[in-house]
């Protein structure tokens, strides 16, 4: 999508900069060092005999900064790699999917705003469908089927078999199930409903698409 710098392997950039990748790397290291130094400025360094909390971080930050400077310097002396093309679509959707999961799995509040805890029932499919669009080849139907079948699988694996405490169902909707059902029963019922939904979607949309789903595309990409 967006292209910061066009460059492909051996092409040597002109100008004094001989290794653009190292310039960027050096700047990142310098910024990191500066951040660490700023964050530790109020802390006591102590003496070698009794090291304070800031001793190690501060000296490490200085060392990181020096490496950054060295990288910068070498970027003007030695030839190196050009910056690679940046593809924003991947990171944006992948992080979008992760954020969607994090915000919906259980109530999360920042300031006055609180997101509803929707549990795995919504968080899982959201992560798969939003994240799935990170590739231009995404197909909604496949992603929906994938999310409807993987989510119940993970519910049973993590919640039922491994007994890990993961919210499964939106808290607001627990009234839908009979009150004498146990947590596990709700989980299994939800998983079963999702799995059935996956089969229904698969069968209902099959006619419009030629060929079986989930088939290997032999030209495949990774």
């Amino acid at each position: 999508m967006s292209t910061l710098h066009e460059g492909s392997g051996p092409a040597r950039p002109g100008g004094p900069v001989r290794a653009p990748q190292n310039i960027a790397g050096g700047l990142v290291l310098l910024a990191l060092a500066a951040l660490a130094l700023w964050l530790t400025q109020d802390l006591d360094q102590g003496t070698l005999n009794a090291m304070g909390p800031a001793m190690l971080p501060r000296w490490l930050a200085i060392a990181v900064g020096l490496s950054g400077l060295a990288l910068l310097a070498f970027a003007f002396i030695k030839h190196g790699d050009a910056l690679e093309r940046w593809n924003l679509r991947g990171p944006v959707f992948v992080i979008g999917g992760i954020l969607a999961f994090a915000l919906t799995i259980r109530p999360f509040s920042f300031g006055t705003l609180t997101t509803p805890g929707l549990g795995m029932l919504f968080a899982g499919p959201l992560a798969i469908i939003i994240g799935g669009y990170a590739t231009p080849e995404a197909r909604l139907r496949d992603l929906v089927i994938l999310s409807l079948s993987l989510t119940p699988f993970c519910m049973v694996l993590f919640g039922d078999l491994l007994n890990l405490p993961i919210p499964v169902f939106p808290q607001a909707l627990t009234g839908l199930f009979p009150s004498d059902w146990s947590q596990k029963a709700v989980l299994r019922a939800t998983a079963a409903i999702l799995a059935v939904a996956a089969v229904i979607v698969f069968l209902a949309t099959r006619s419009r698409h030629r060929g079986p789903i989930d088939v290997a595309d032999h030209s495949g990409r990774i």
């Binding site: 490490l60 994090a102 992560a127 994938l146 405490p165």
Partner: protein, 500 residues
């Protein structure tokens, strides 16, 4: 000698219980299942599967994790042979001849000899660990904080020398890793460092979060950038068992590979990564007809695969005896052990002999499992290899999210894997190798602690590190290594090794 056998029998007593056998089996199976997916290396596999071992008792959890590790390793080799996509540095070599064999319709033989060679190497390495474990542990007990600090410095220097790409960048990554480890409450003074006042950073950055972000999520973003064609072998897999001729050609490389891999694996600082390269180079040098290499020579699969597995296993030695993880995978093992309340180090063997020897015995069991499950299941792995990436990565993504959430039930952890994923992606884009950073992160806390203690004992004198002979020796080795690696002639050779 009597100790050796009684220890091993104690270990097998633990490893051969029905529950632990089942866990080893399950670990190997899921490890291979995830590890075989193209673009998912052993580190990402272990990070992803870490949470599913939390509910188990420590011994069972570590046995299962070790199984996952071997499974992931073997899965990586399978991918290298069948698809020519090496999941990690060590299976690059396997891809050279293994994939050619597969194209000639001998994929089965390549997989078979890889499994058999690995099993043999694993058996030998298990015995090496059992033999060296006790004496090295005794050695570790005489180590003071000064020696420990120097040893870790040496390990980090090894990691720098063995990292791919620029040495300067590797050093920077190690420093950043150690710097990251200092985030959080200072253990000595109780003051918060670099936490931005955020409560969830008070305990420091969670190791699993960092590993999953840098190796799981960042890998996804990186793979999405590359539109590599996936070259799944179309030919028949062929028979799986090598015939007599194959064995005759392969047994010597297996022996040599095992020897090389086992020795290199013991070195602190990811020596195991060198094993396959060294073995391949050696086989090519002593072969009667070196031109066969790169065109499907069975020696080129048998040797490196054995070296790989032997090294993978003996790299447990520095961890189990000294408590120092030599590479990123072992760093994950440390993370897993700490979660179960075990602090890796010499005291594990004395305080917790059933866990120590049980784990060592289960290494051998795990290797046997691999042989038993993988060969019959090859067909399934091939099908798995054909799942397109556009369906694979959303599944991996959700698995990572659920996995990391289940550790602490914190939505912030999930957000942080996204953040570290982005950081890892940027690092890759700027030509930094993330593995040394993870190692620096894990060793960072141990290093600060030992540095502090050493300096308290020496009353603030830094000379203690060169006055104490063991420490001075270790630091000297580190310095010599670094100088050698920086010499121009060696550097060229090093670059060749990693680009070949």
């Amino acid at each position: 000698m009597g100790d050796f056998f009684s220890n091993l029998s104690l270990g097998f007593g633990v490893a051969l219980t029905l529950q632990n056998l089942g866990l080893a089996f399950l670990g190997c199976l899921v490890g291979t299942l995830i590890g075989v997916l193209p673009g998912v290396g052993p580190i990402a596999t272990i990070a992803m599967l870490l949470p599913i071992t939390f509910g188990l008792d420590p011994t069972g959890a570590l046995i299962m994790l070790a199984g996952i590790y071997y499974g992931a390793q073997y899965g990586g080799s399978t991918t290298a042979i069948l698809v020519n996509i090496p999941g990690e540095a060590t299976s690059v070599v396997t891809a050279l001849d293994g994939h050619q064999m597969a194209r000639q319709g001998r994929a089965g033989v390549a997989l078979g000899i890889a499994a058999i060679g690995s099993f043999f190497a694993g058996t030998v390495a298990t015995l090496v660990i059992a033999a060296l474990g006790a004496p090295l542990t005794r050695l570790a007990l005489i180590f003071g904080p000064t020696e420990y600090f120097s040893l870790m410095v040496m390990g980090l220097v090894f990691a720098v020398v063995l990292a791919r790409g620029s040495i300067l960048k590797a050093i920077a990554m190690i420093l950043v890793g150690v710097l990251l480890s200092t985030v959080g409450t200072d253990l000595e003074t109780g003051e918060e460092r670099m936490t931005f006042g955020l409560p969830f950073l008070a305990d420091g950055i969670d190791f699993a979060v960092l590993a999953m972000g840098i190796f799981g999520i960042a890998e996804i973003m990186r793979n999405l950038d590359h539109t590599e064609t996936r070259d799944v072998v179309q030919q028949a897999i062929g028979r799986l068992l090598p015939n007599l001729d194959d064995f005759k050609q392969a047994y010597k490389p297996v022996l040599r590979g095992t020897f090389i891999g086992a020795i290199l694996g013991i070195l602190p600082g990811n020596g195991a990564v060198l094993g396959p390269f060294a073995s391949y180079t050696l086989e090519k040098k002593i072969a009667k007809d070196p031109r066969r290499f790169g065109r499907g020579a069975i020696e080129g699969v048998a040797g490196p695969e054995s070296a790989n597995n032997a090294g993978a296993q003996t790299s447990f030695i520095p961890l189990l005896t000294l408590g120092i993880p030599p590479n990123a995978v072992m760093a994950l093992m440390v993370g897993a052990m700490t979660i179960h309340g075990i602090i890796p180090g010499p005291q594990v063997m004395t305080k917790n002999p059933t866990l120590f020897w049980g784990m060592i015995a289960s290494m051998w069991v795990g290797n046997l499992m691999l042989l038993v499950i993988n060969l019959p299941l090859v067909g399934m792995w091939v099908r798995l290899l054909k799942v397109p990436y556009r369906l694979l990565f959303p599944a991996i993504l959700m698995f990572c999210c659920i996995g990391i959430y289940s550790i602490n039930s914190l939505p912030t952890d999930v957000m942080f894997i996204g953040f570290f994923g982005l950081v890892g992606y940027m690092l890759i884009k700027f030509g930094f190798e993330p593995a040394p950073m993870l190692l620096g992160f894990v060793l960072g806390r141990l290093m600060e602690e030992n540095l502090r203690r050493a300096l308290i004992i020496s009353r603030g004198s830094l000379e203690t590190f060169i006055e104490r002979p063991v420490s001075a020796g270790l630091l000297a080795v580190a310095a010599i290594l670094l100088v050698i690696a920086l010499l121009p002639s060696i550097r060229k050779g090093r670059d060749e090794v990693f680009t070949e």
